[in-house]
Symmetry: C2
Subunit: 362 residues, 2 copies
């Protein structure tokens, strides 16, 4: 069965129901013009909302009635040929399937794009470089207004060659090349906020379990930790900074060493690590927050709020990254201020739950 | 600054770097024809790969060289105007931001679509009906080949009116209307597989903590549980079927009642419930799998493999749902067989870890 036959309304095989059109061909401008008794040029002026066109209200109404009666649908592709760009914004994402984070970037970007009359054309590459090249080429062929290039974890990136042919903004990543527009989470502020929760509750021996894997988050969150200690008048003790693989097994494995170093509170690089640490502390007969106050990072949907006790943490602002990326691309009011390196940094809001309580004075 | 100025290559405000084109207008067919010293018709025949066109190899090569030298890019929109449909498949998703599941549907649909030369045009509605209508209208205007309409949890759905104007497949949802093409997880088989893991390890008192919320998954997984018991020659005991809210708090809260009913093994409606049950069992001083064998459902990325001990569970086949949806839409070989109701059901693979061990004979 050819595509044409399928579109003609016959049911396909395997019980697929198919559209049953009321007419043999799609409704055209000419059909509308004939029904309304006007020229196709007049219909075109009305459909394309040319403001300076002088058309009688009565004629306009007749054309609009015909459009409604016939179910005429303007061809977006034809409009694009005239205007040179489509109403698409491309979004290249490298991890839609592997993390819930990419979904929030998509959500934020799409909400903001729709507000301004753009639709998102999304390509999910899962890190496949060839697919990425093809996806960007395809977006260029469809004359996108611009492209958001996003990564599921915050990192430095090279700018793929075809991306340079479009207006673009890097989302959750950044380039070494000067003036490359980018929007990323403010890791330093996030680390500061996480540590400040613990300092504010009277803790002085605050450990930080950082990640073993090099990343902007690793450097930024450590810097934020040090800044928060300084603000609270707590001397920095390098013995209280540890490293572990950033998942549940890493947090669990770090437990004995954490206890050995005499901390009363710990800020974990991410929520998954905190989840493993919960198990480790329990096996040592310790309770949270009485014996150890714990703070995470990420505010990961299926974990943070559902641990026992619910975990205080810091949110990664993925929704806002996507929305801000669109505002930067379209150069809208409310686009975040970029620093001199072209990179805008977005606030990571602290979320307080019950894994921290005030420290009893010794 | 207008959009036109921005496109002309001047740097935008806030340090945005912009594309700096090498020529004042996009490269056209005519530019290529002039450079190669042939007619635009000849270039068009070569670009559009007309197989019956008789063109000398030497001419072809000259045109291809000119295309490469000038950086000519065919306009996908113009091709669409000629062919009547674009190389887009639309995907409407209601929960990209709120669950990792939607990401897997996107991943599977996109991989399959790309294989056949289609790109995905994705709209994320987060359940907003107005946005959904607009998104489908937009897809129709862009002349998509067809639309996948997907939901993040398996449920019955109404078919939105504009969806009927396209070829469509329902993904992870289904309609009461006969012959509506749909692809969903095989919940009955999944429930059977989950229960069979426990029966195979010698358990006879196997509890099932079902969800409190009505859903096809609730009915299907219970039916599968009963079928597996019957296959194993274990009489069904209604006392061993309980209900709880399908999250960590629900599983935790169900612990005392589960212990009261004298089960040695439990199959939880989902992984989140199992995660809460782990905490509940630990607080009762019980260990998994020695005192209680536990099986979940979903194989949720950030949870199942990272619990202590790692959780045996059943995978929801979201990737495969997306891929199968595309195959059904395009009526390709390898599309899953639909039942008489138009619904194709996809296998849910069991994933065995260490939360179940052989039951010692009493």
């Amino acid at each position: 069965m050819t595509s044409m036959e399928s579109r003609s309304g016959k049911p396909g095989p395997k019980g697929l129901s198919r559209r049953i059109p009321e007419r043999a061909h799609p409704v055209t401008l000419r059909d509308v013009a004939e029904a309304a008794g006007v020229s196709t040029a007049t219909v075109s002026l009305i459909v394309n909302k040319k403001k300076d066109a002088r058309i009688a209200e009565e004629t306009k109404q007749r054309v609009k009635d015909a459009i409604r009666a016939l179910g005429y649908r303007p061809n977006a592709m034809a409009k694009t040929l005239v205007s040179g760009t489509s109403r698409f914004i491309g979004l290249v994402a490298d991890g839609v399937a592997t993390t819930p984070f990419a979904g929030q970037i998509i959500h934020g970007a799409q909400d903001e794009a729709w507000k301004h009359g753009y639709a998102l054309l999304i390509a999910n590459t899962e890190g496949n470089g060839e697919l990425e090249q093809d996806a960007i080429q395809m977006m260029l062929e469809y004359k996108v207004r611009g492209i958001l290039y996003s990564t599921w974890f915050h990192r430095q990136t090279d700018i793929p060659a075809p991306l340079r042919e479009a207006d673009f903004v890097l989302v959750n990543c950044f380039s070494k090349e000067p003036e490359s527009p980018a929007v990323v989470p403010d890791e330093v502020q996030g680390g500061r906020s996480a540590t400040a929760i613990l300092a504010r509750h009277g803790h002085r021996r605050i450990a930080f379990i950082n990640a073993t894997i090099p990343a902007p988050a690793k450097d930024g969150r450590l810097l934020g930790y040090r800044e928060a200690l300084e603000e609270a008048g707590i001397p920095f003790d390098p013995d209280l900074v540890m490293e572990a693989y950033p998942d549940q097994e890493g947090g669990y494995g770090a437990t004995p060493e954490l206890l050995h170093r005499g901390a009363t509170a710990v800020y974990c690089y991410n929520d998954r690590m905190a989840m493993g640490l919960y198990d480790g502390l329990r096996e040592h007969g310790l309770s949270i927050p009485d014996d150890m106050a714990v703070v995470g990072f990420d505010n990961q949907e299926v974990i943070a709020a559902h641990l026992r006790p619910p975990l205080s943490t810091v949110s990664l602002p993925h929704y806002e990254l996507g929305a801000a990326g669109v505002r930067m691309l379209l150069e809208l009011d409310g686009a975040p201020e970029a620093a001199s390196d072209g990179v805008a940094r977005i606030y990571c809001p602290p979320v307080e739950r019950t894994s921290v309580k005030a420290r009893a004075r010794a």
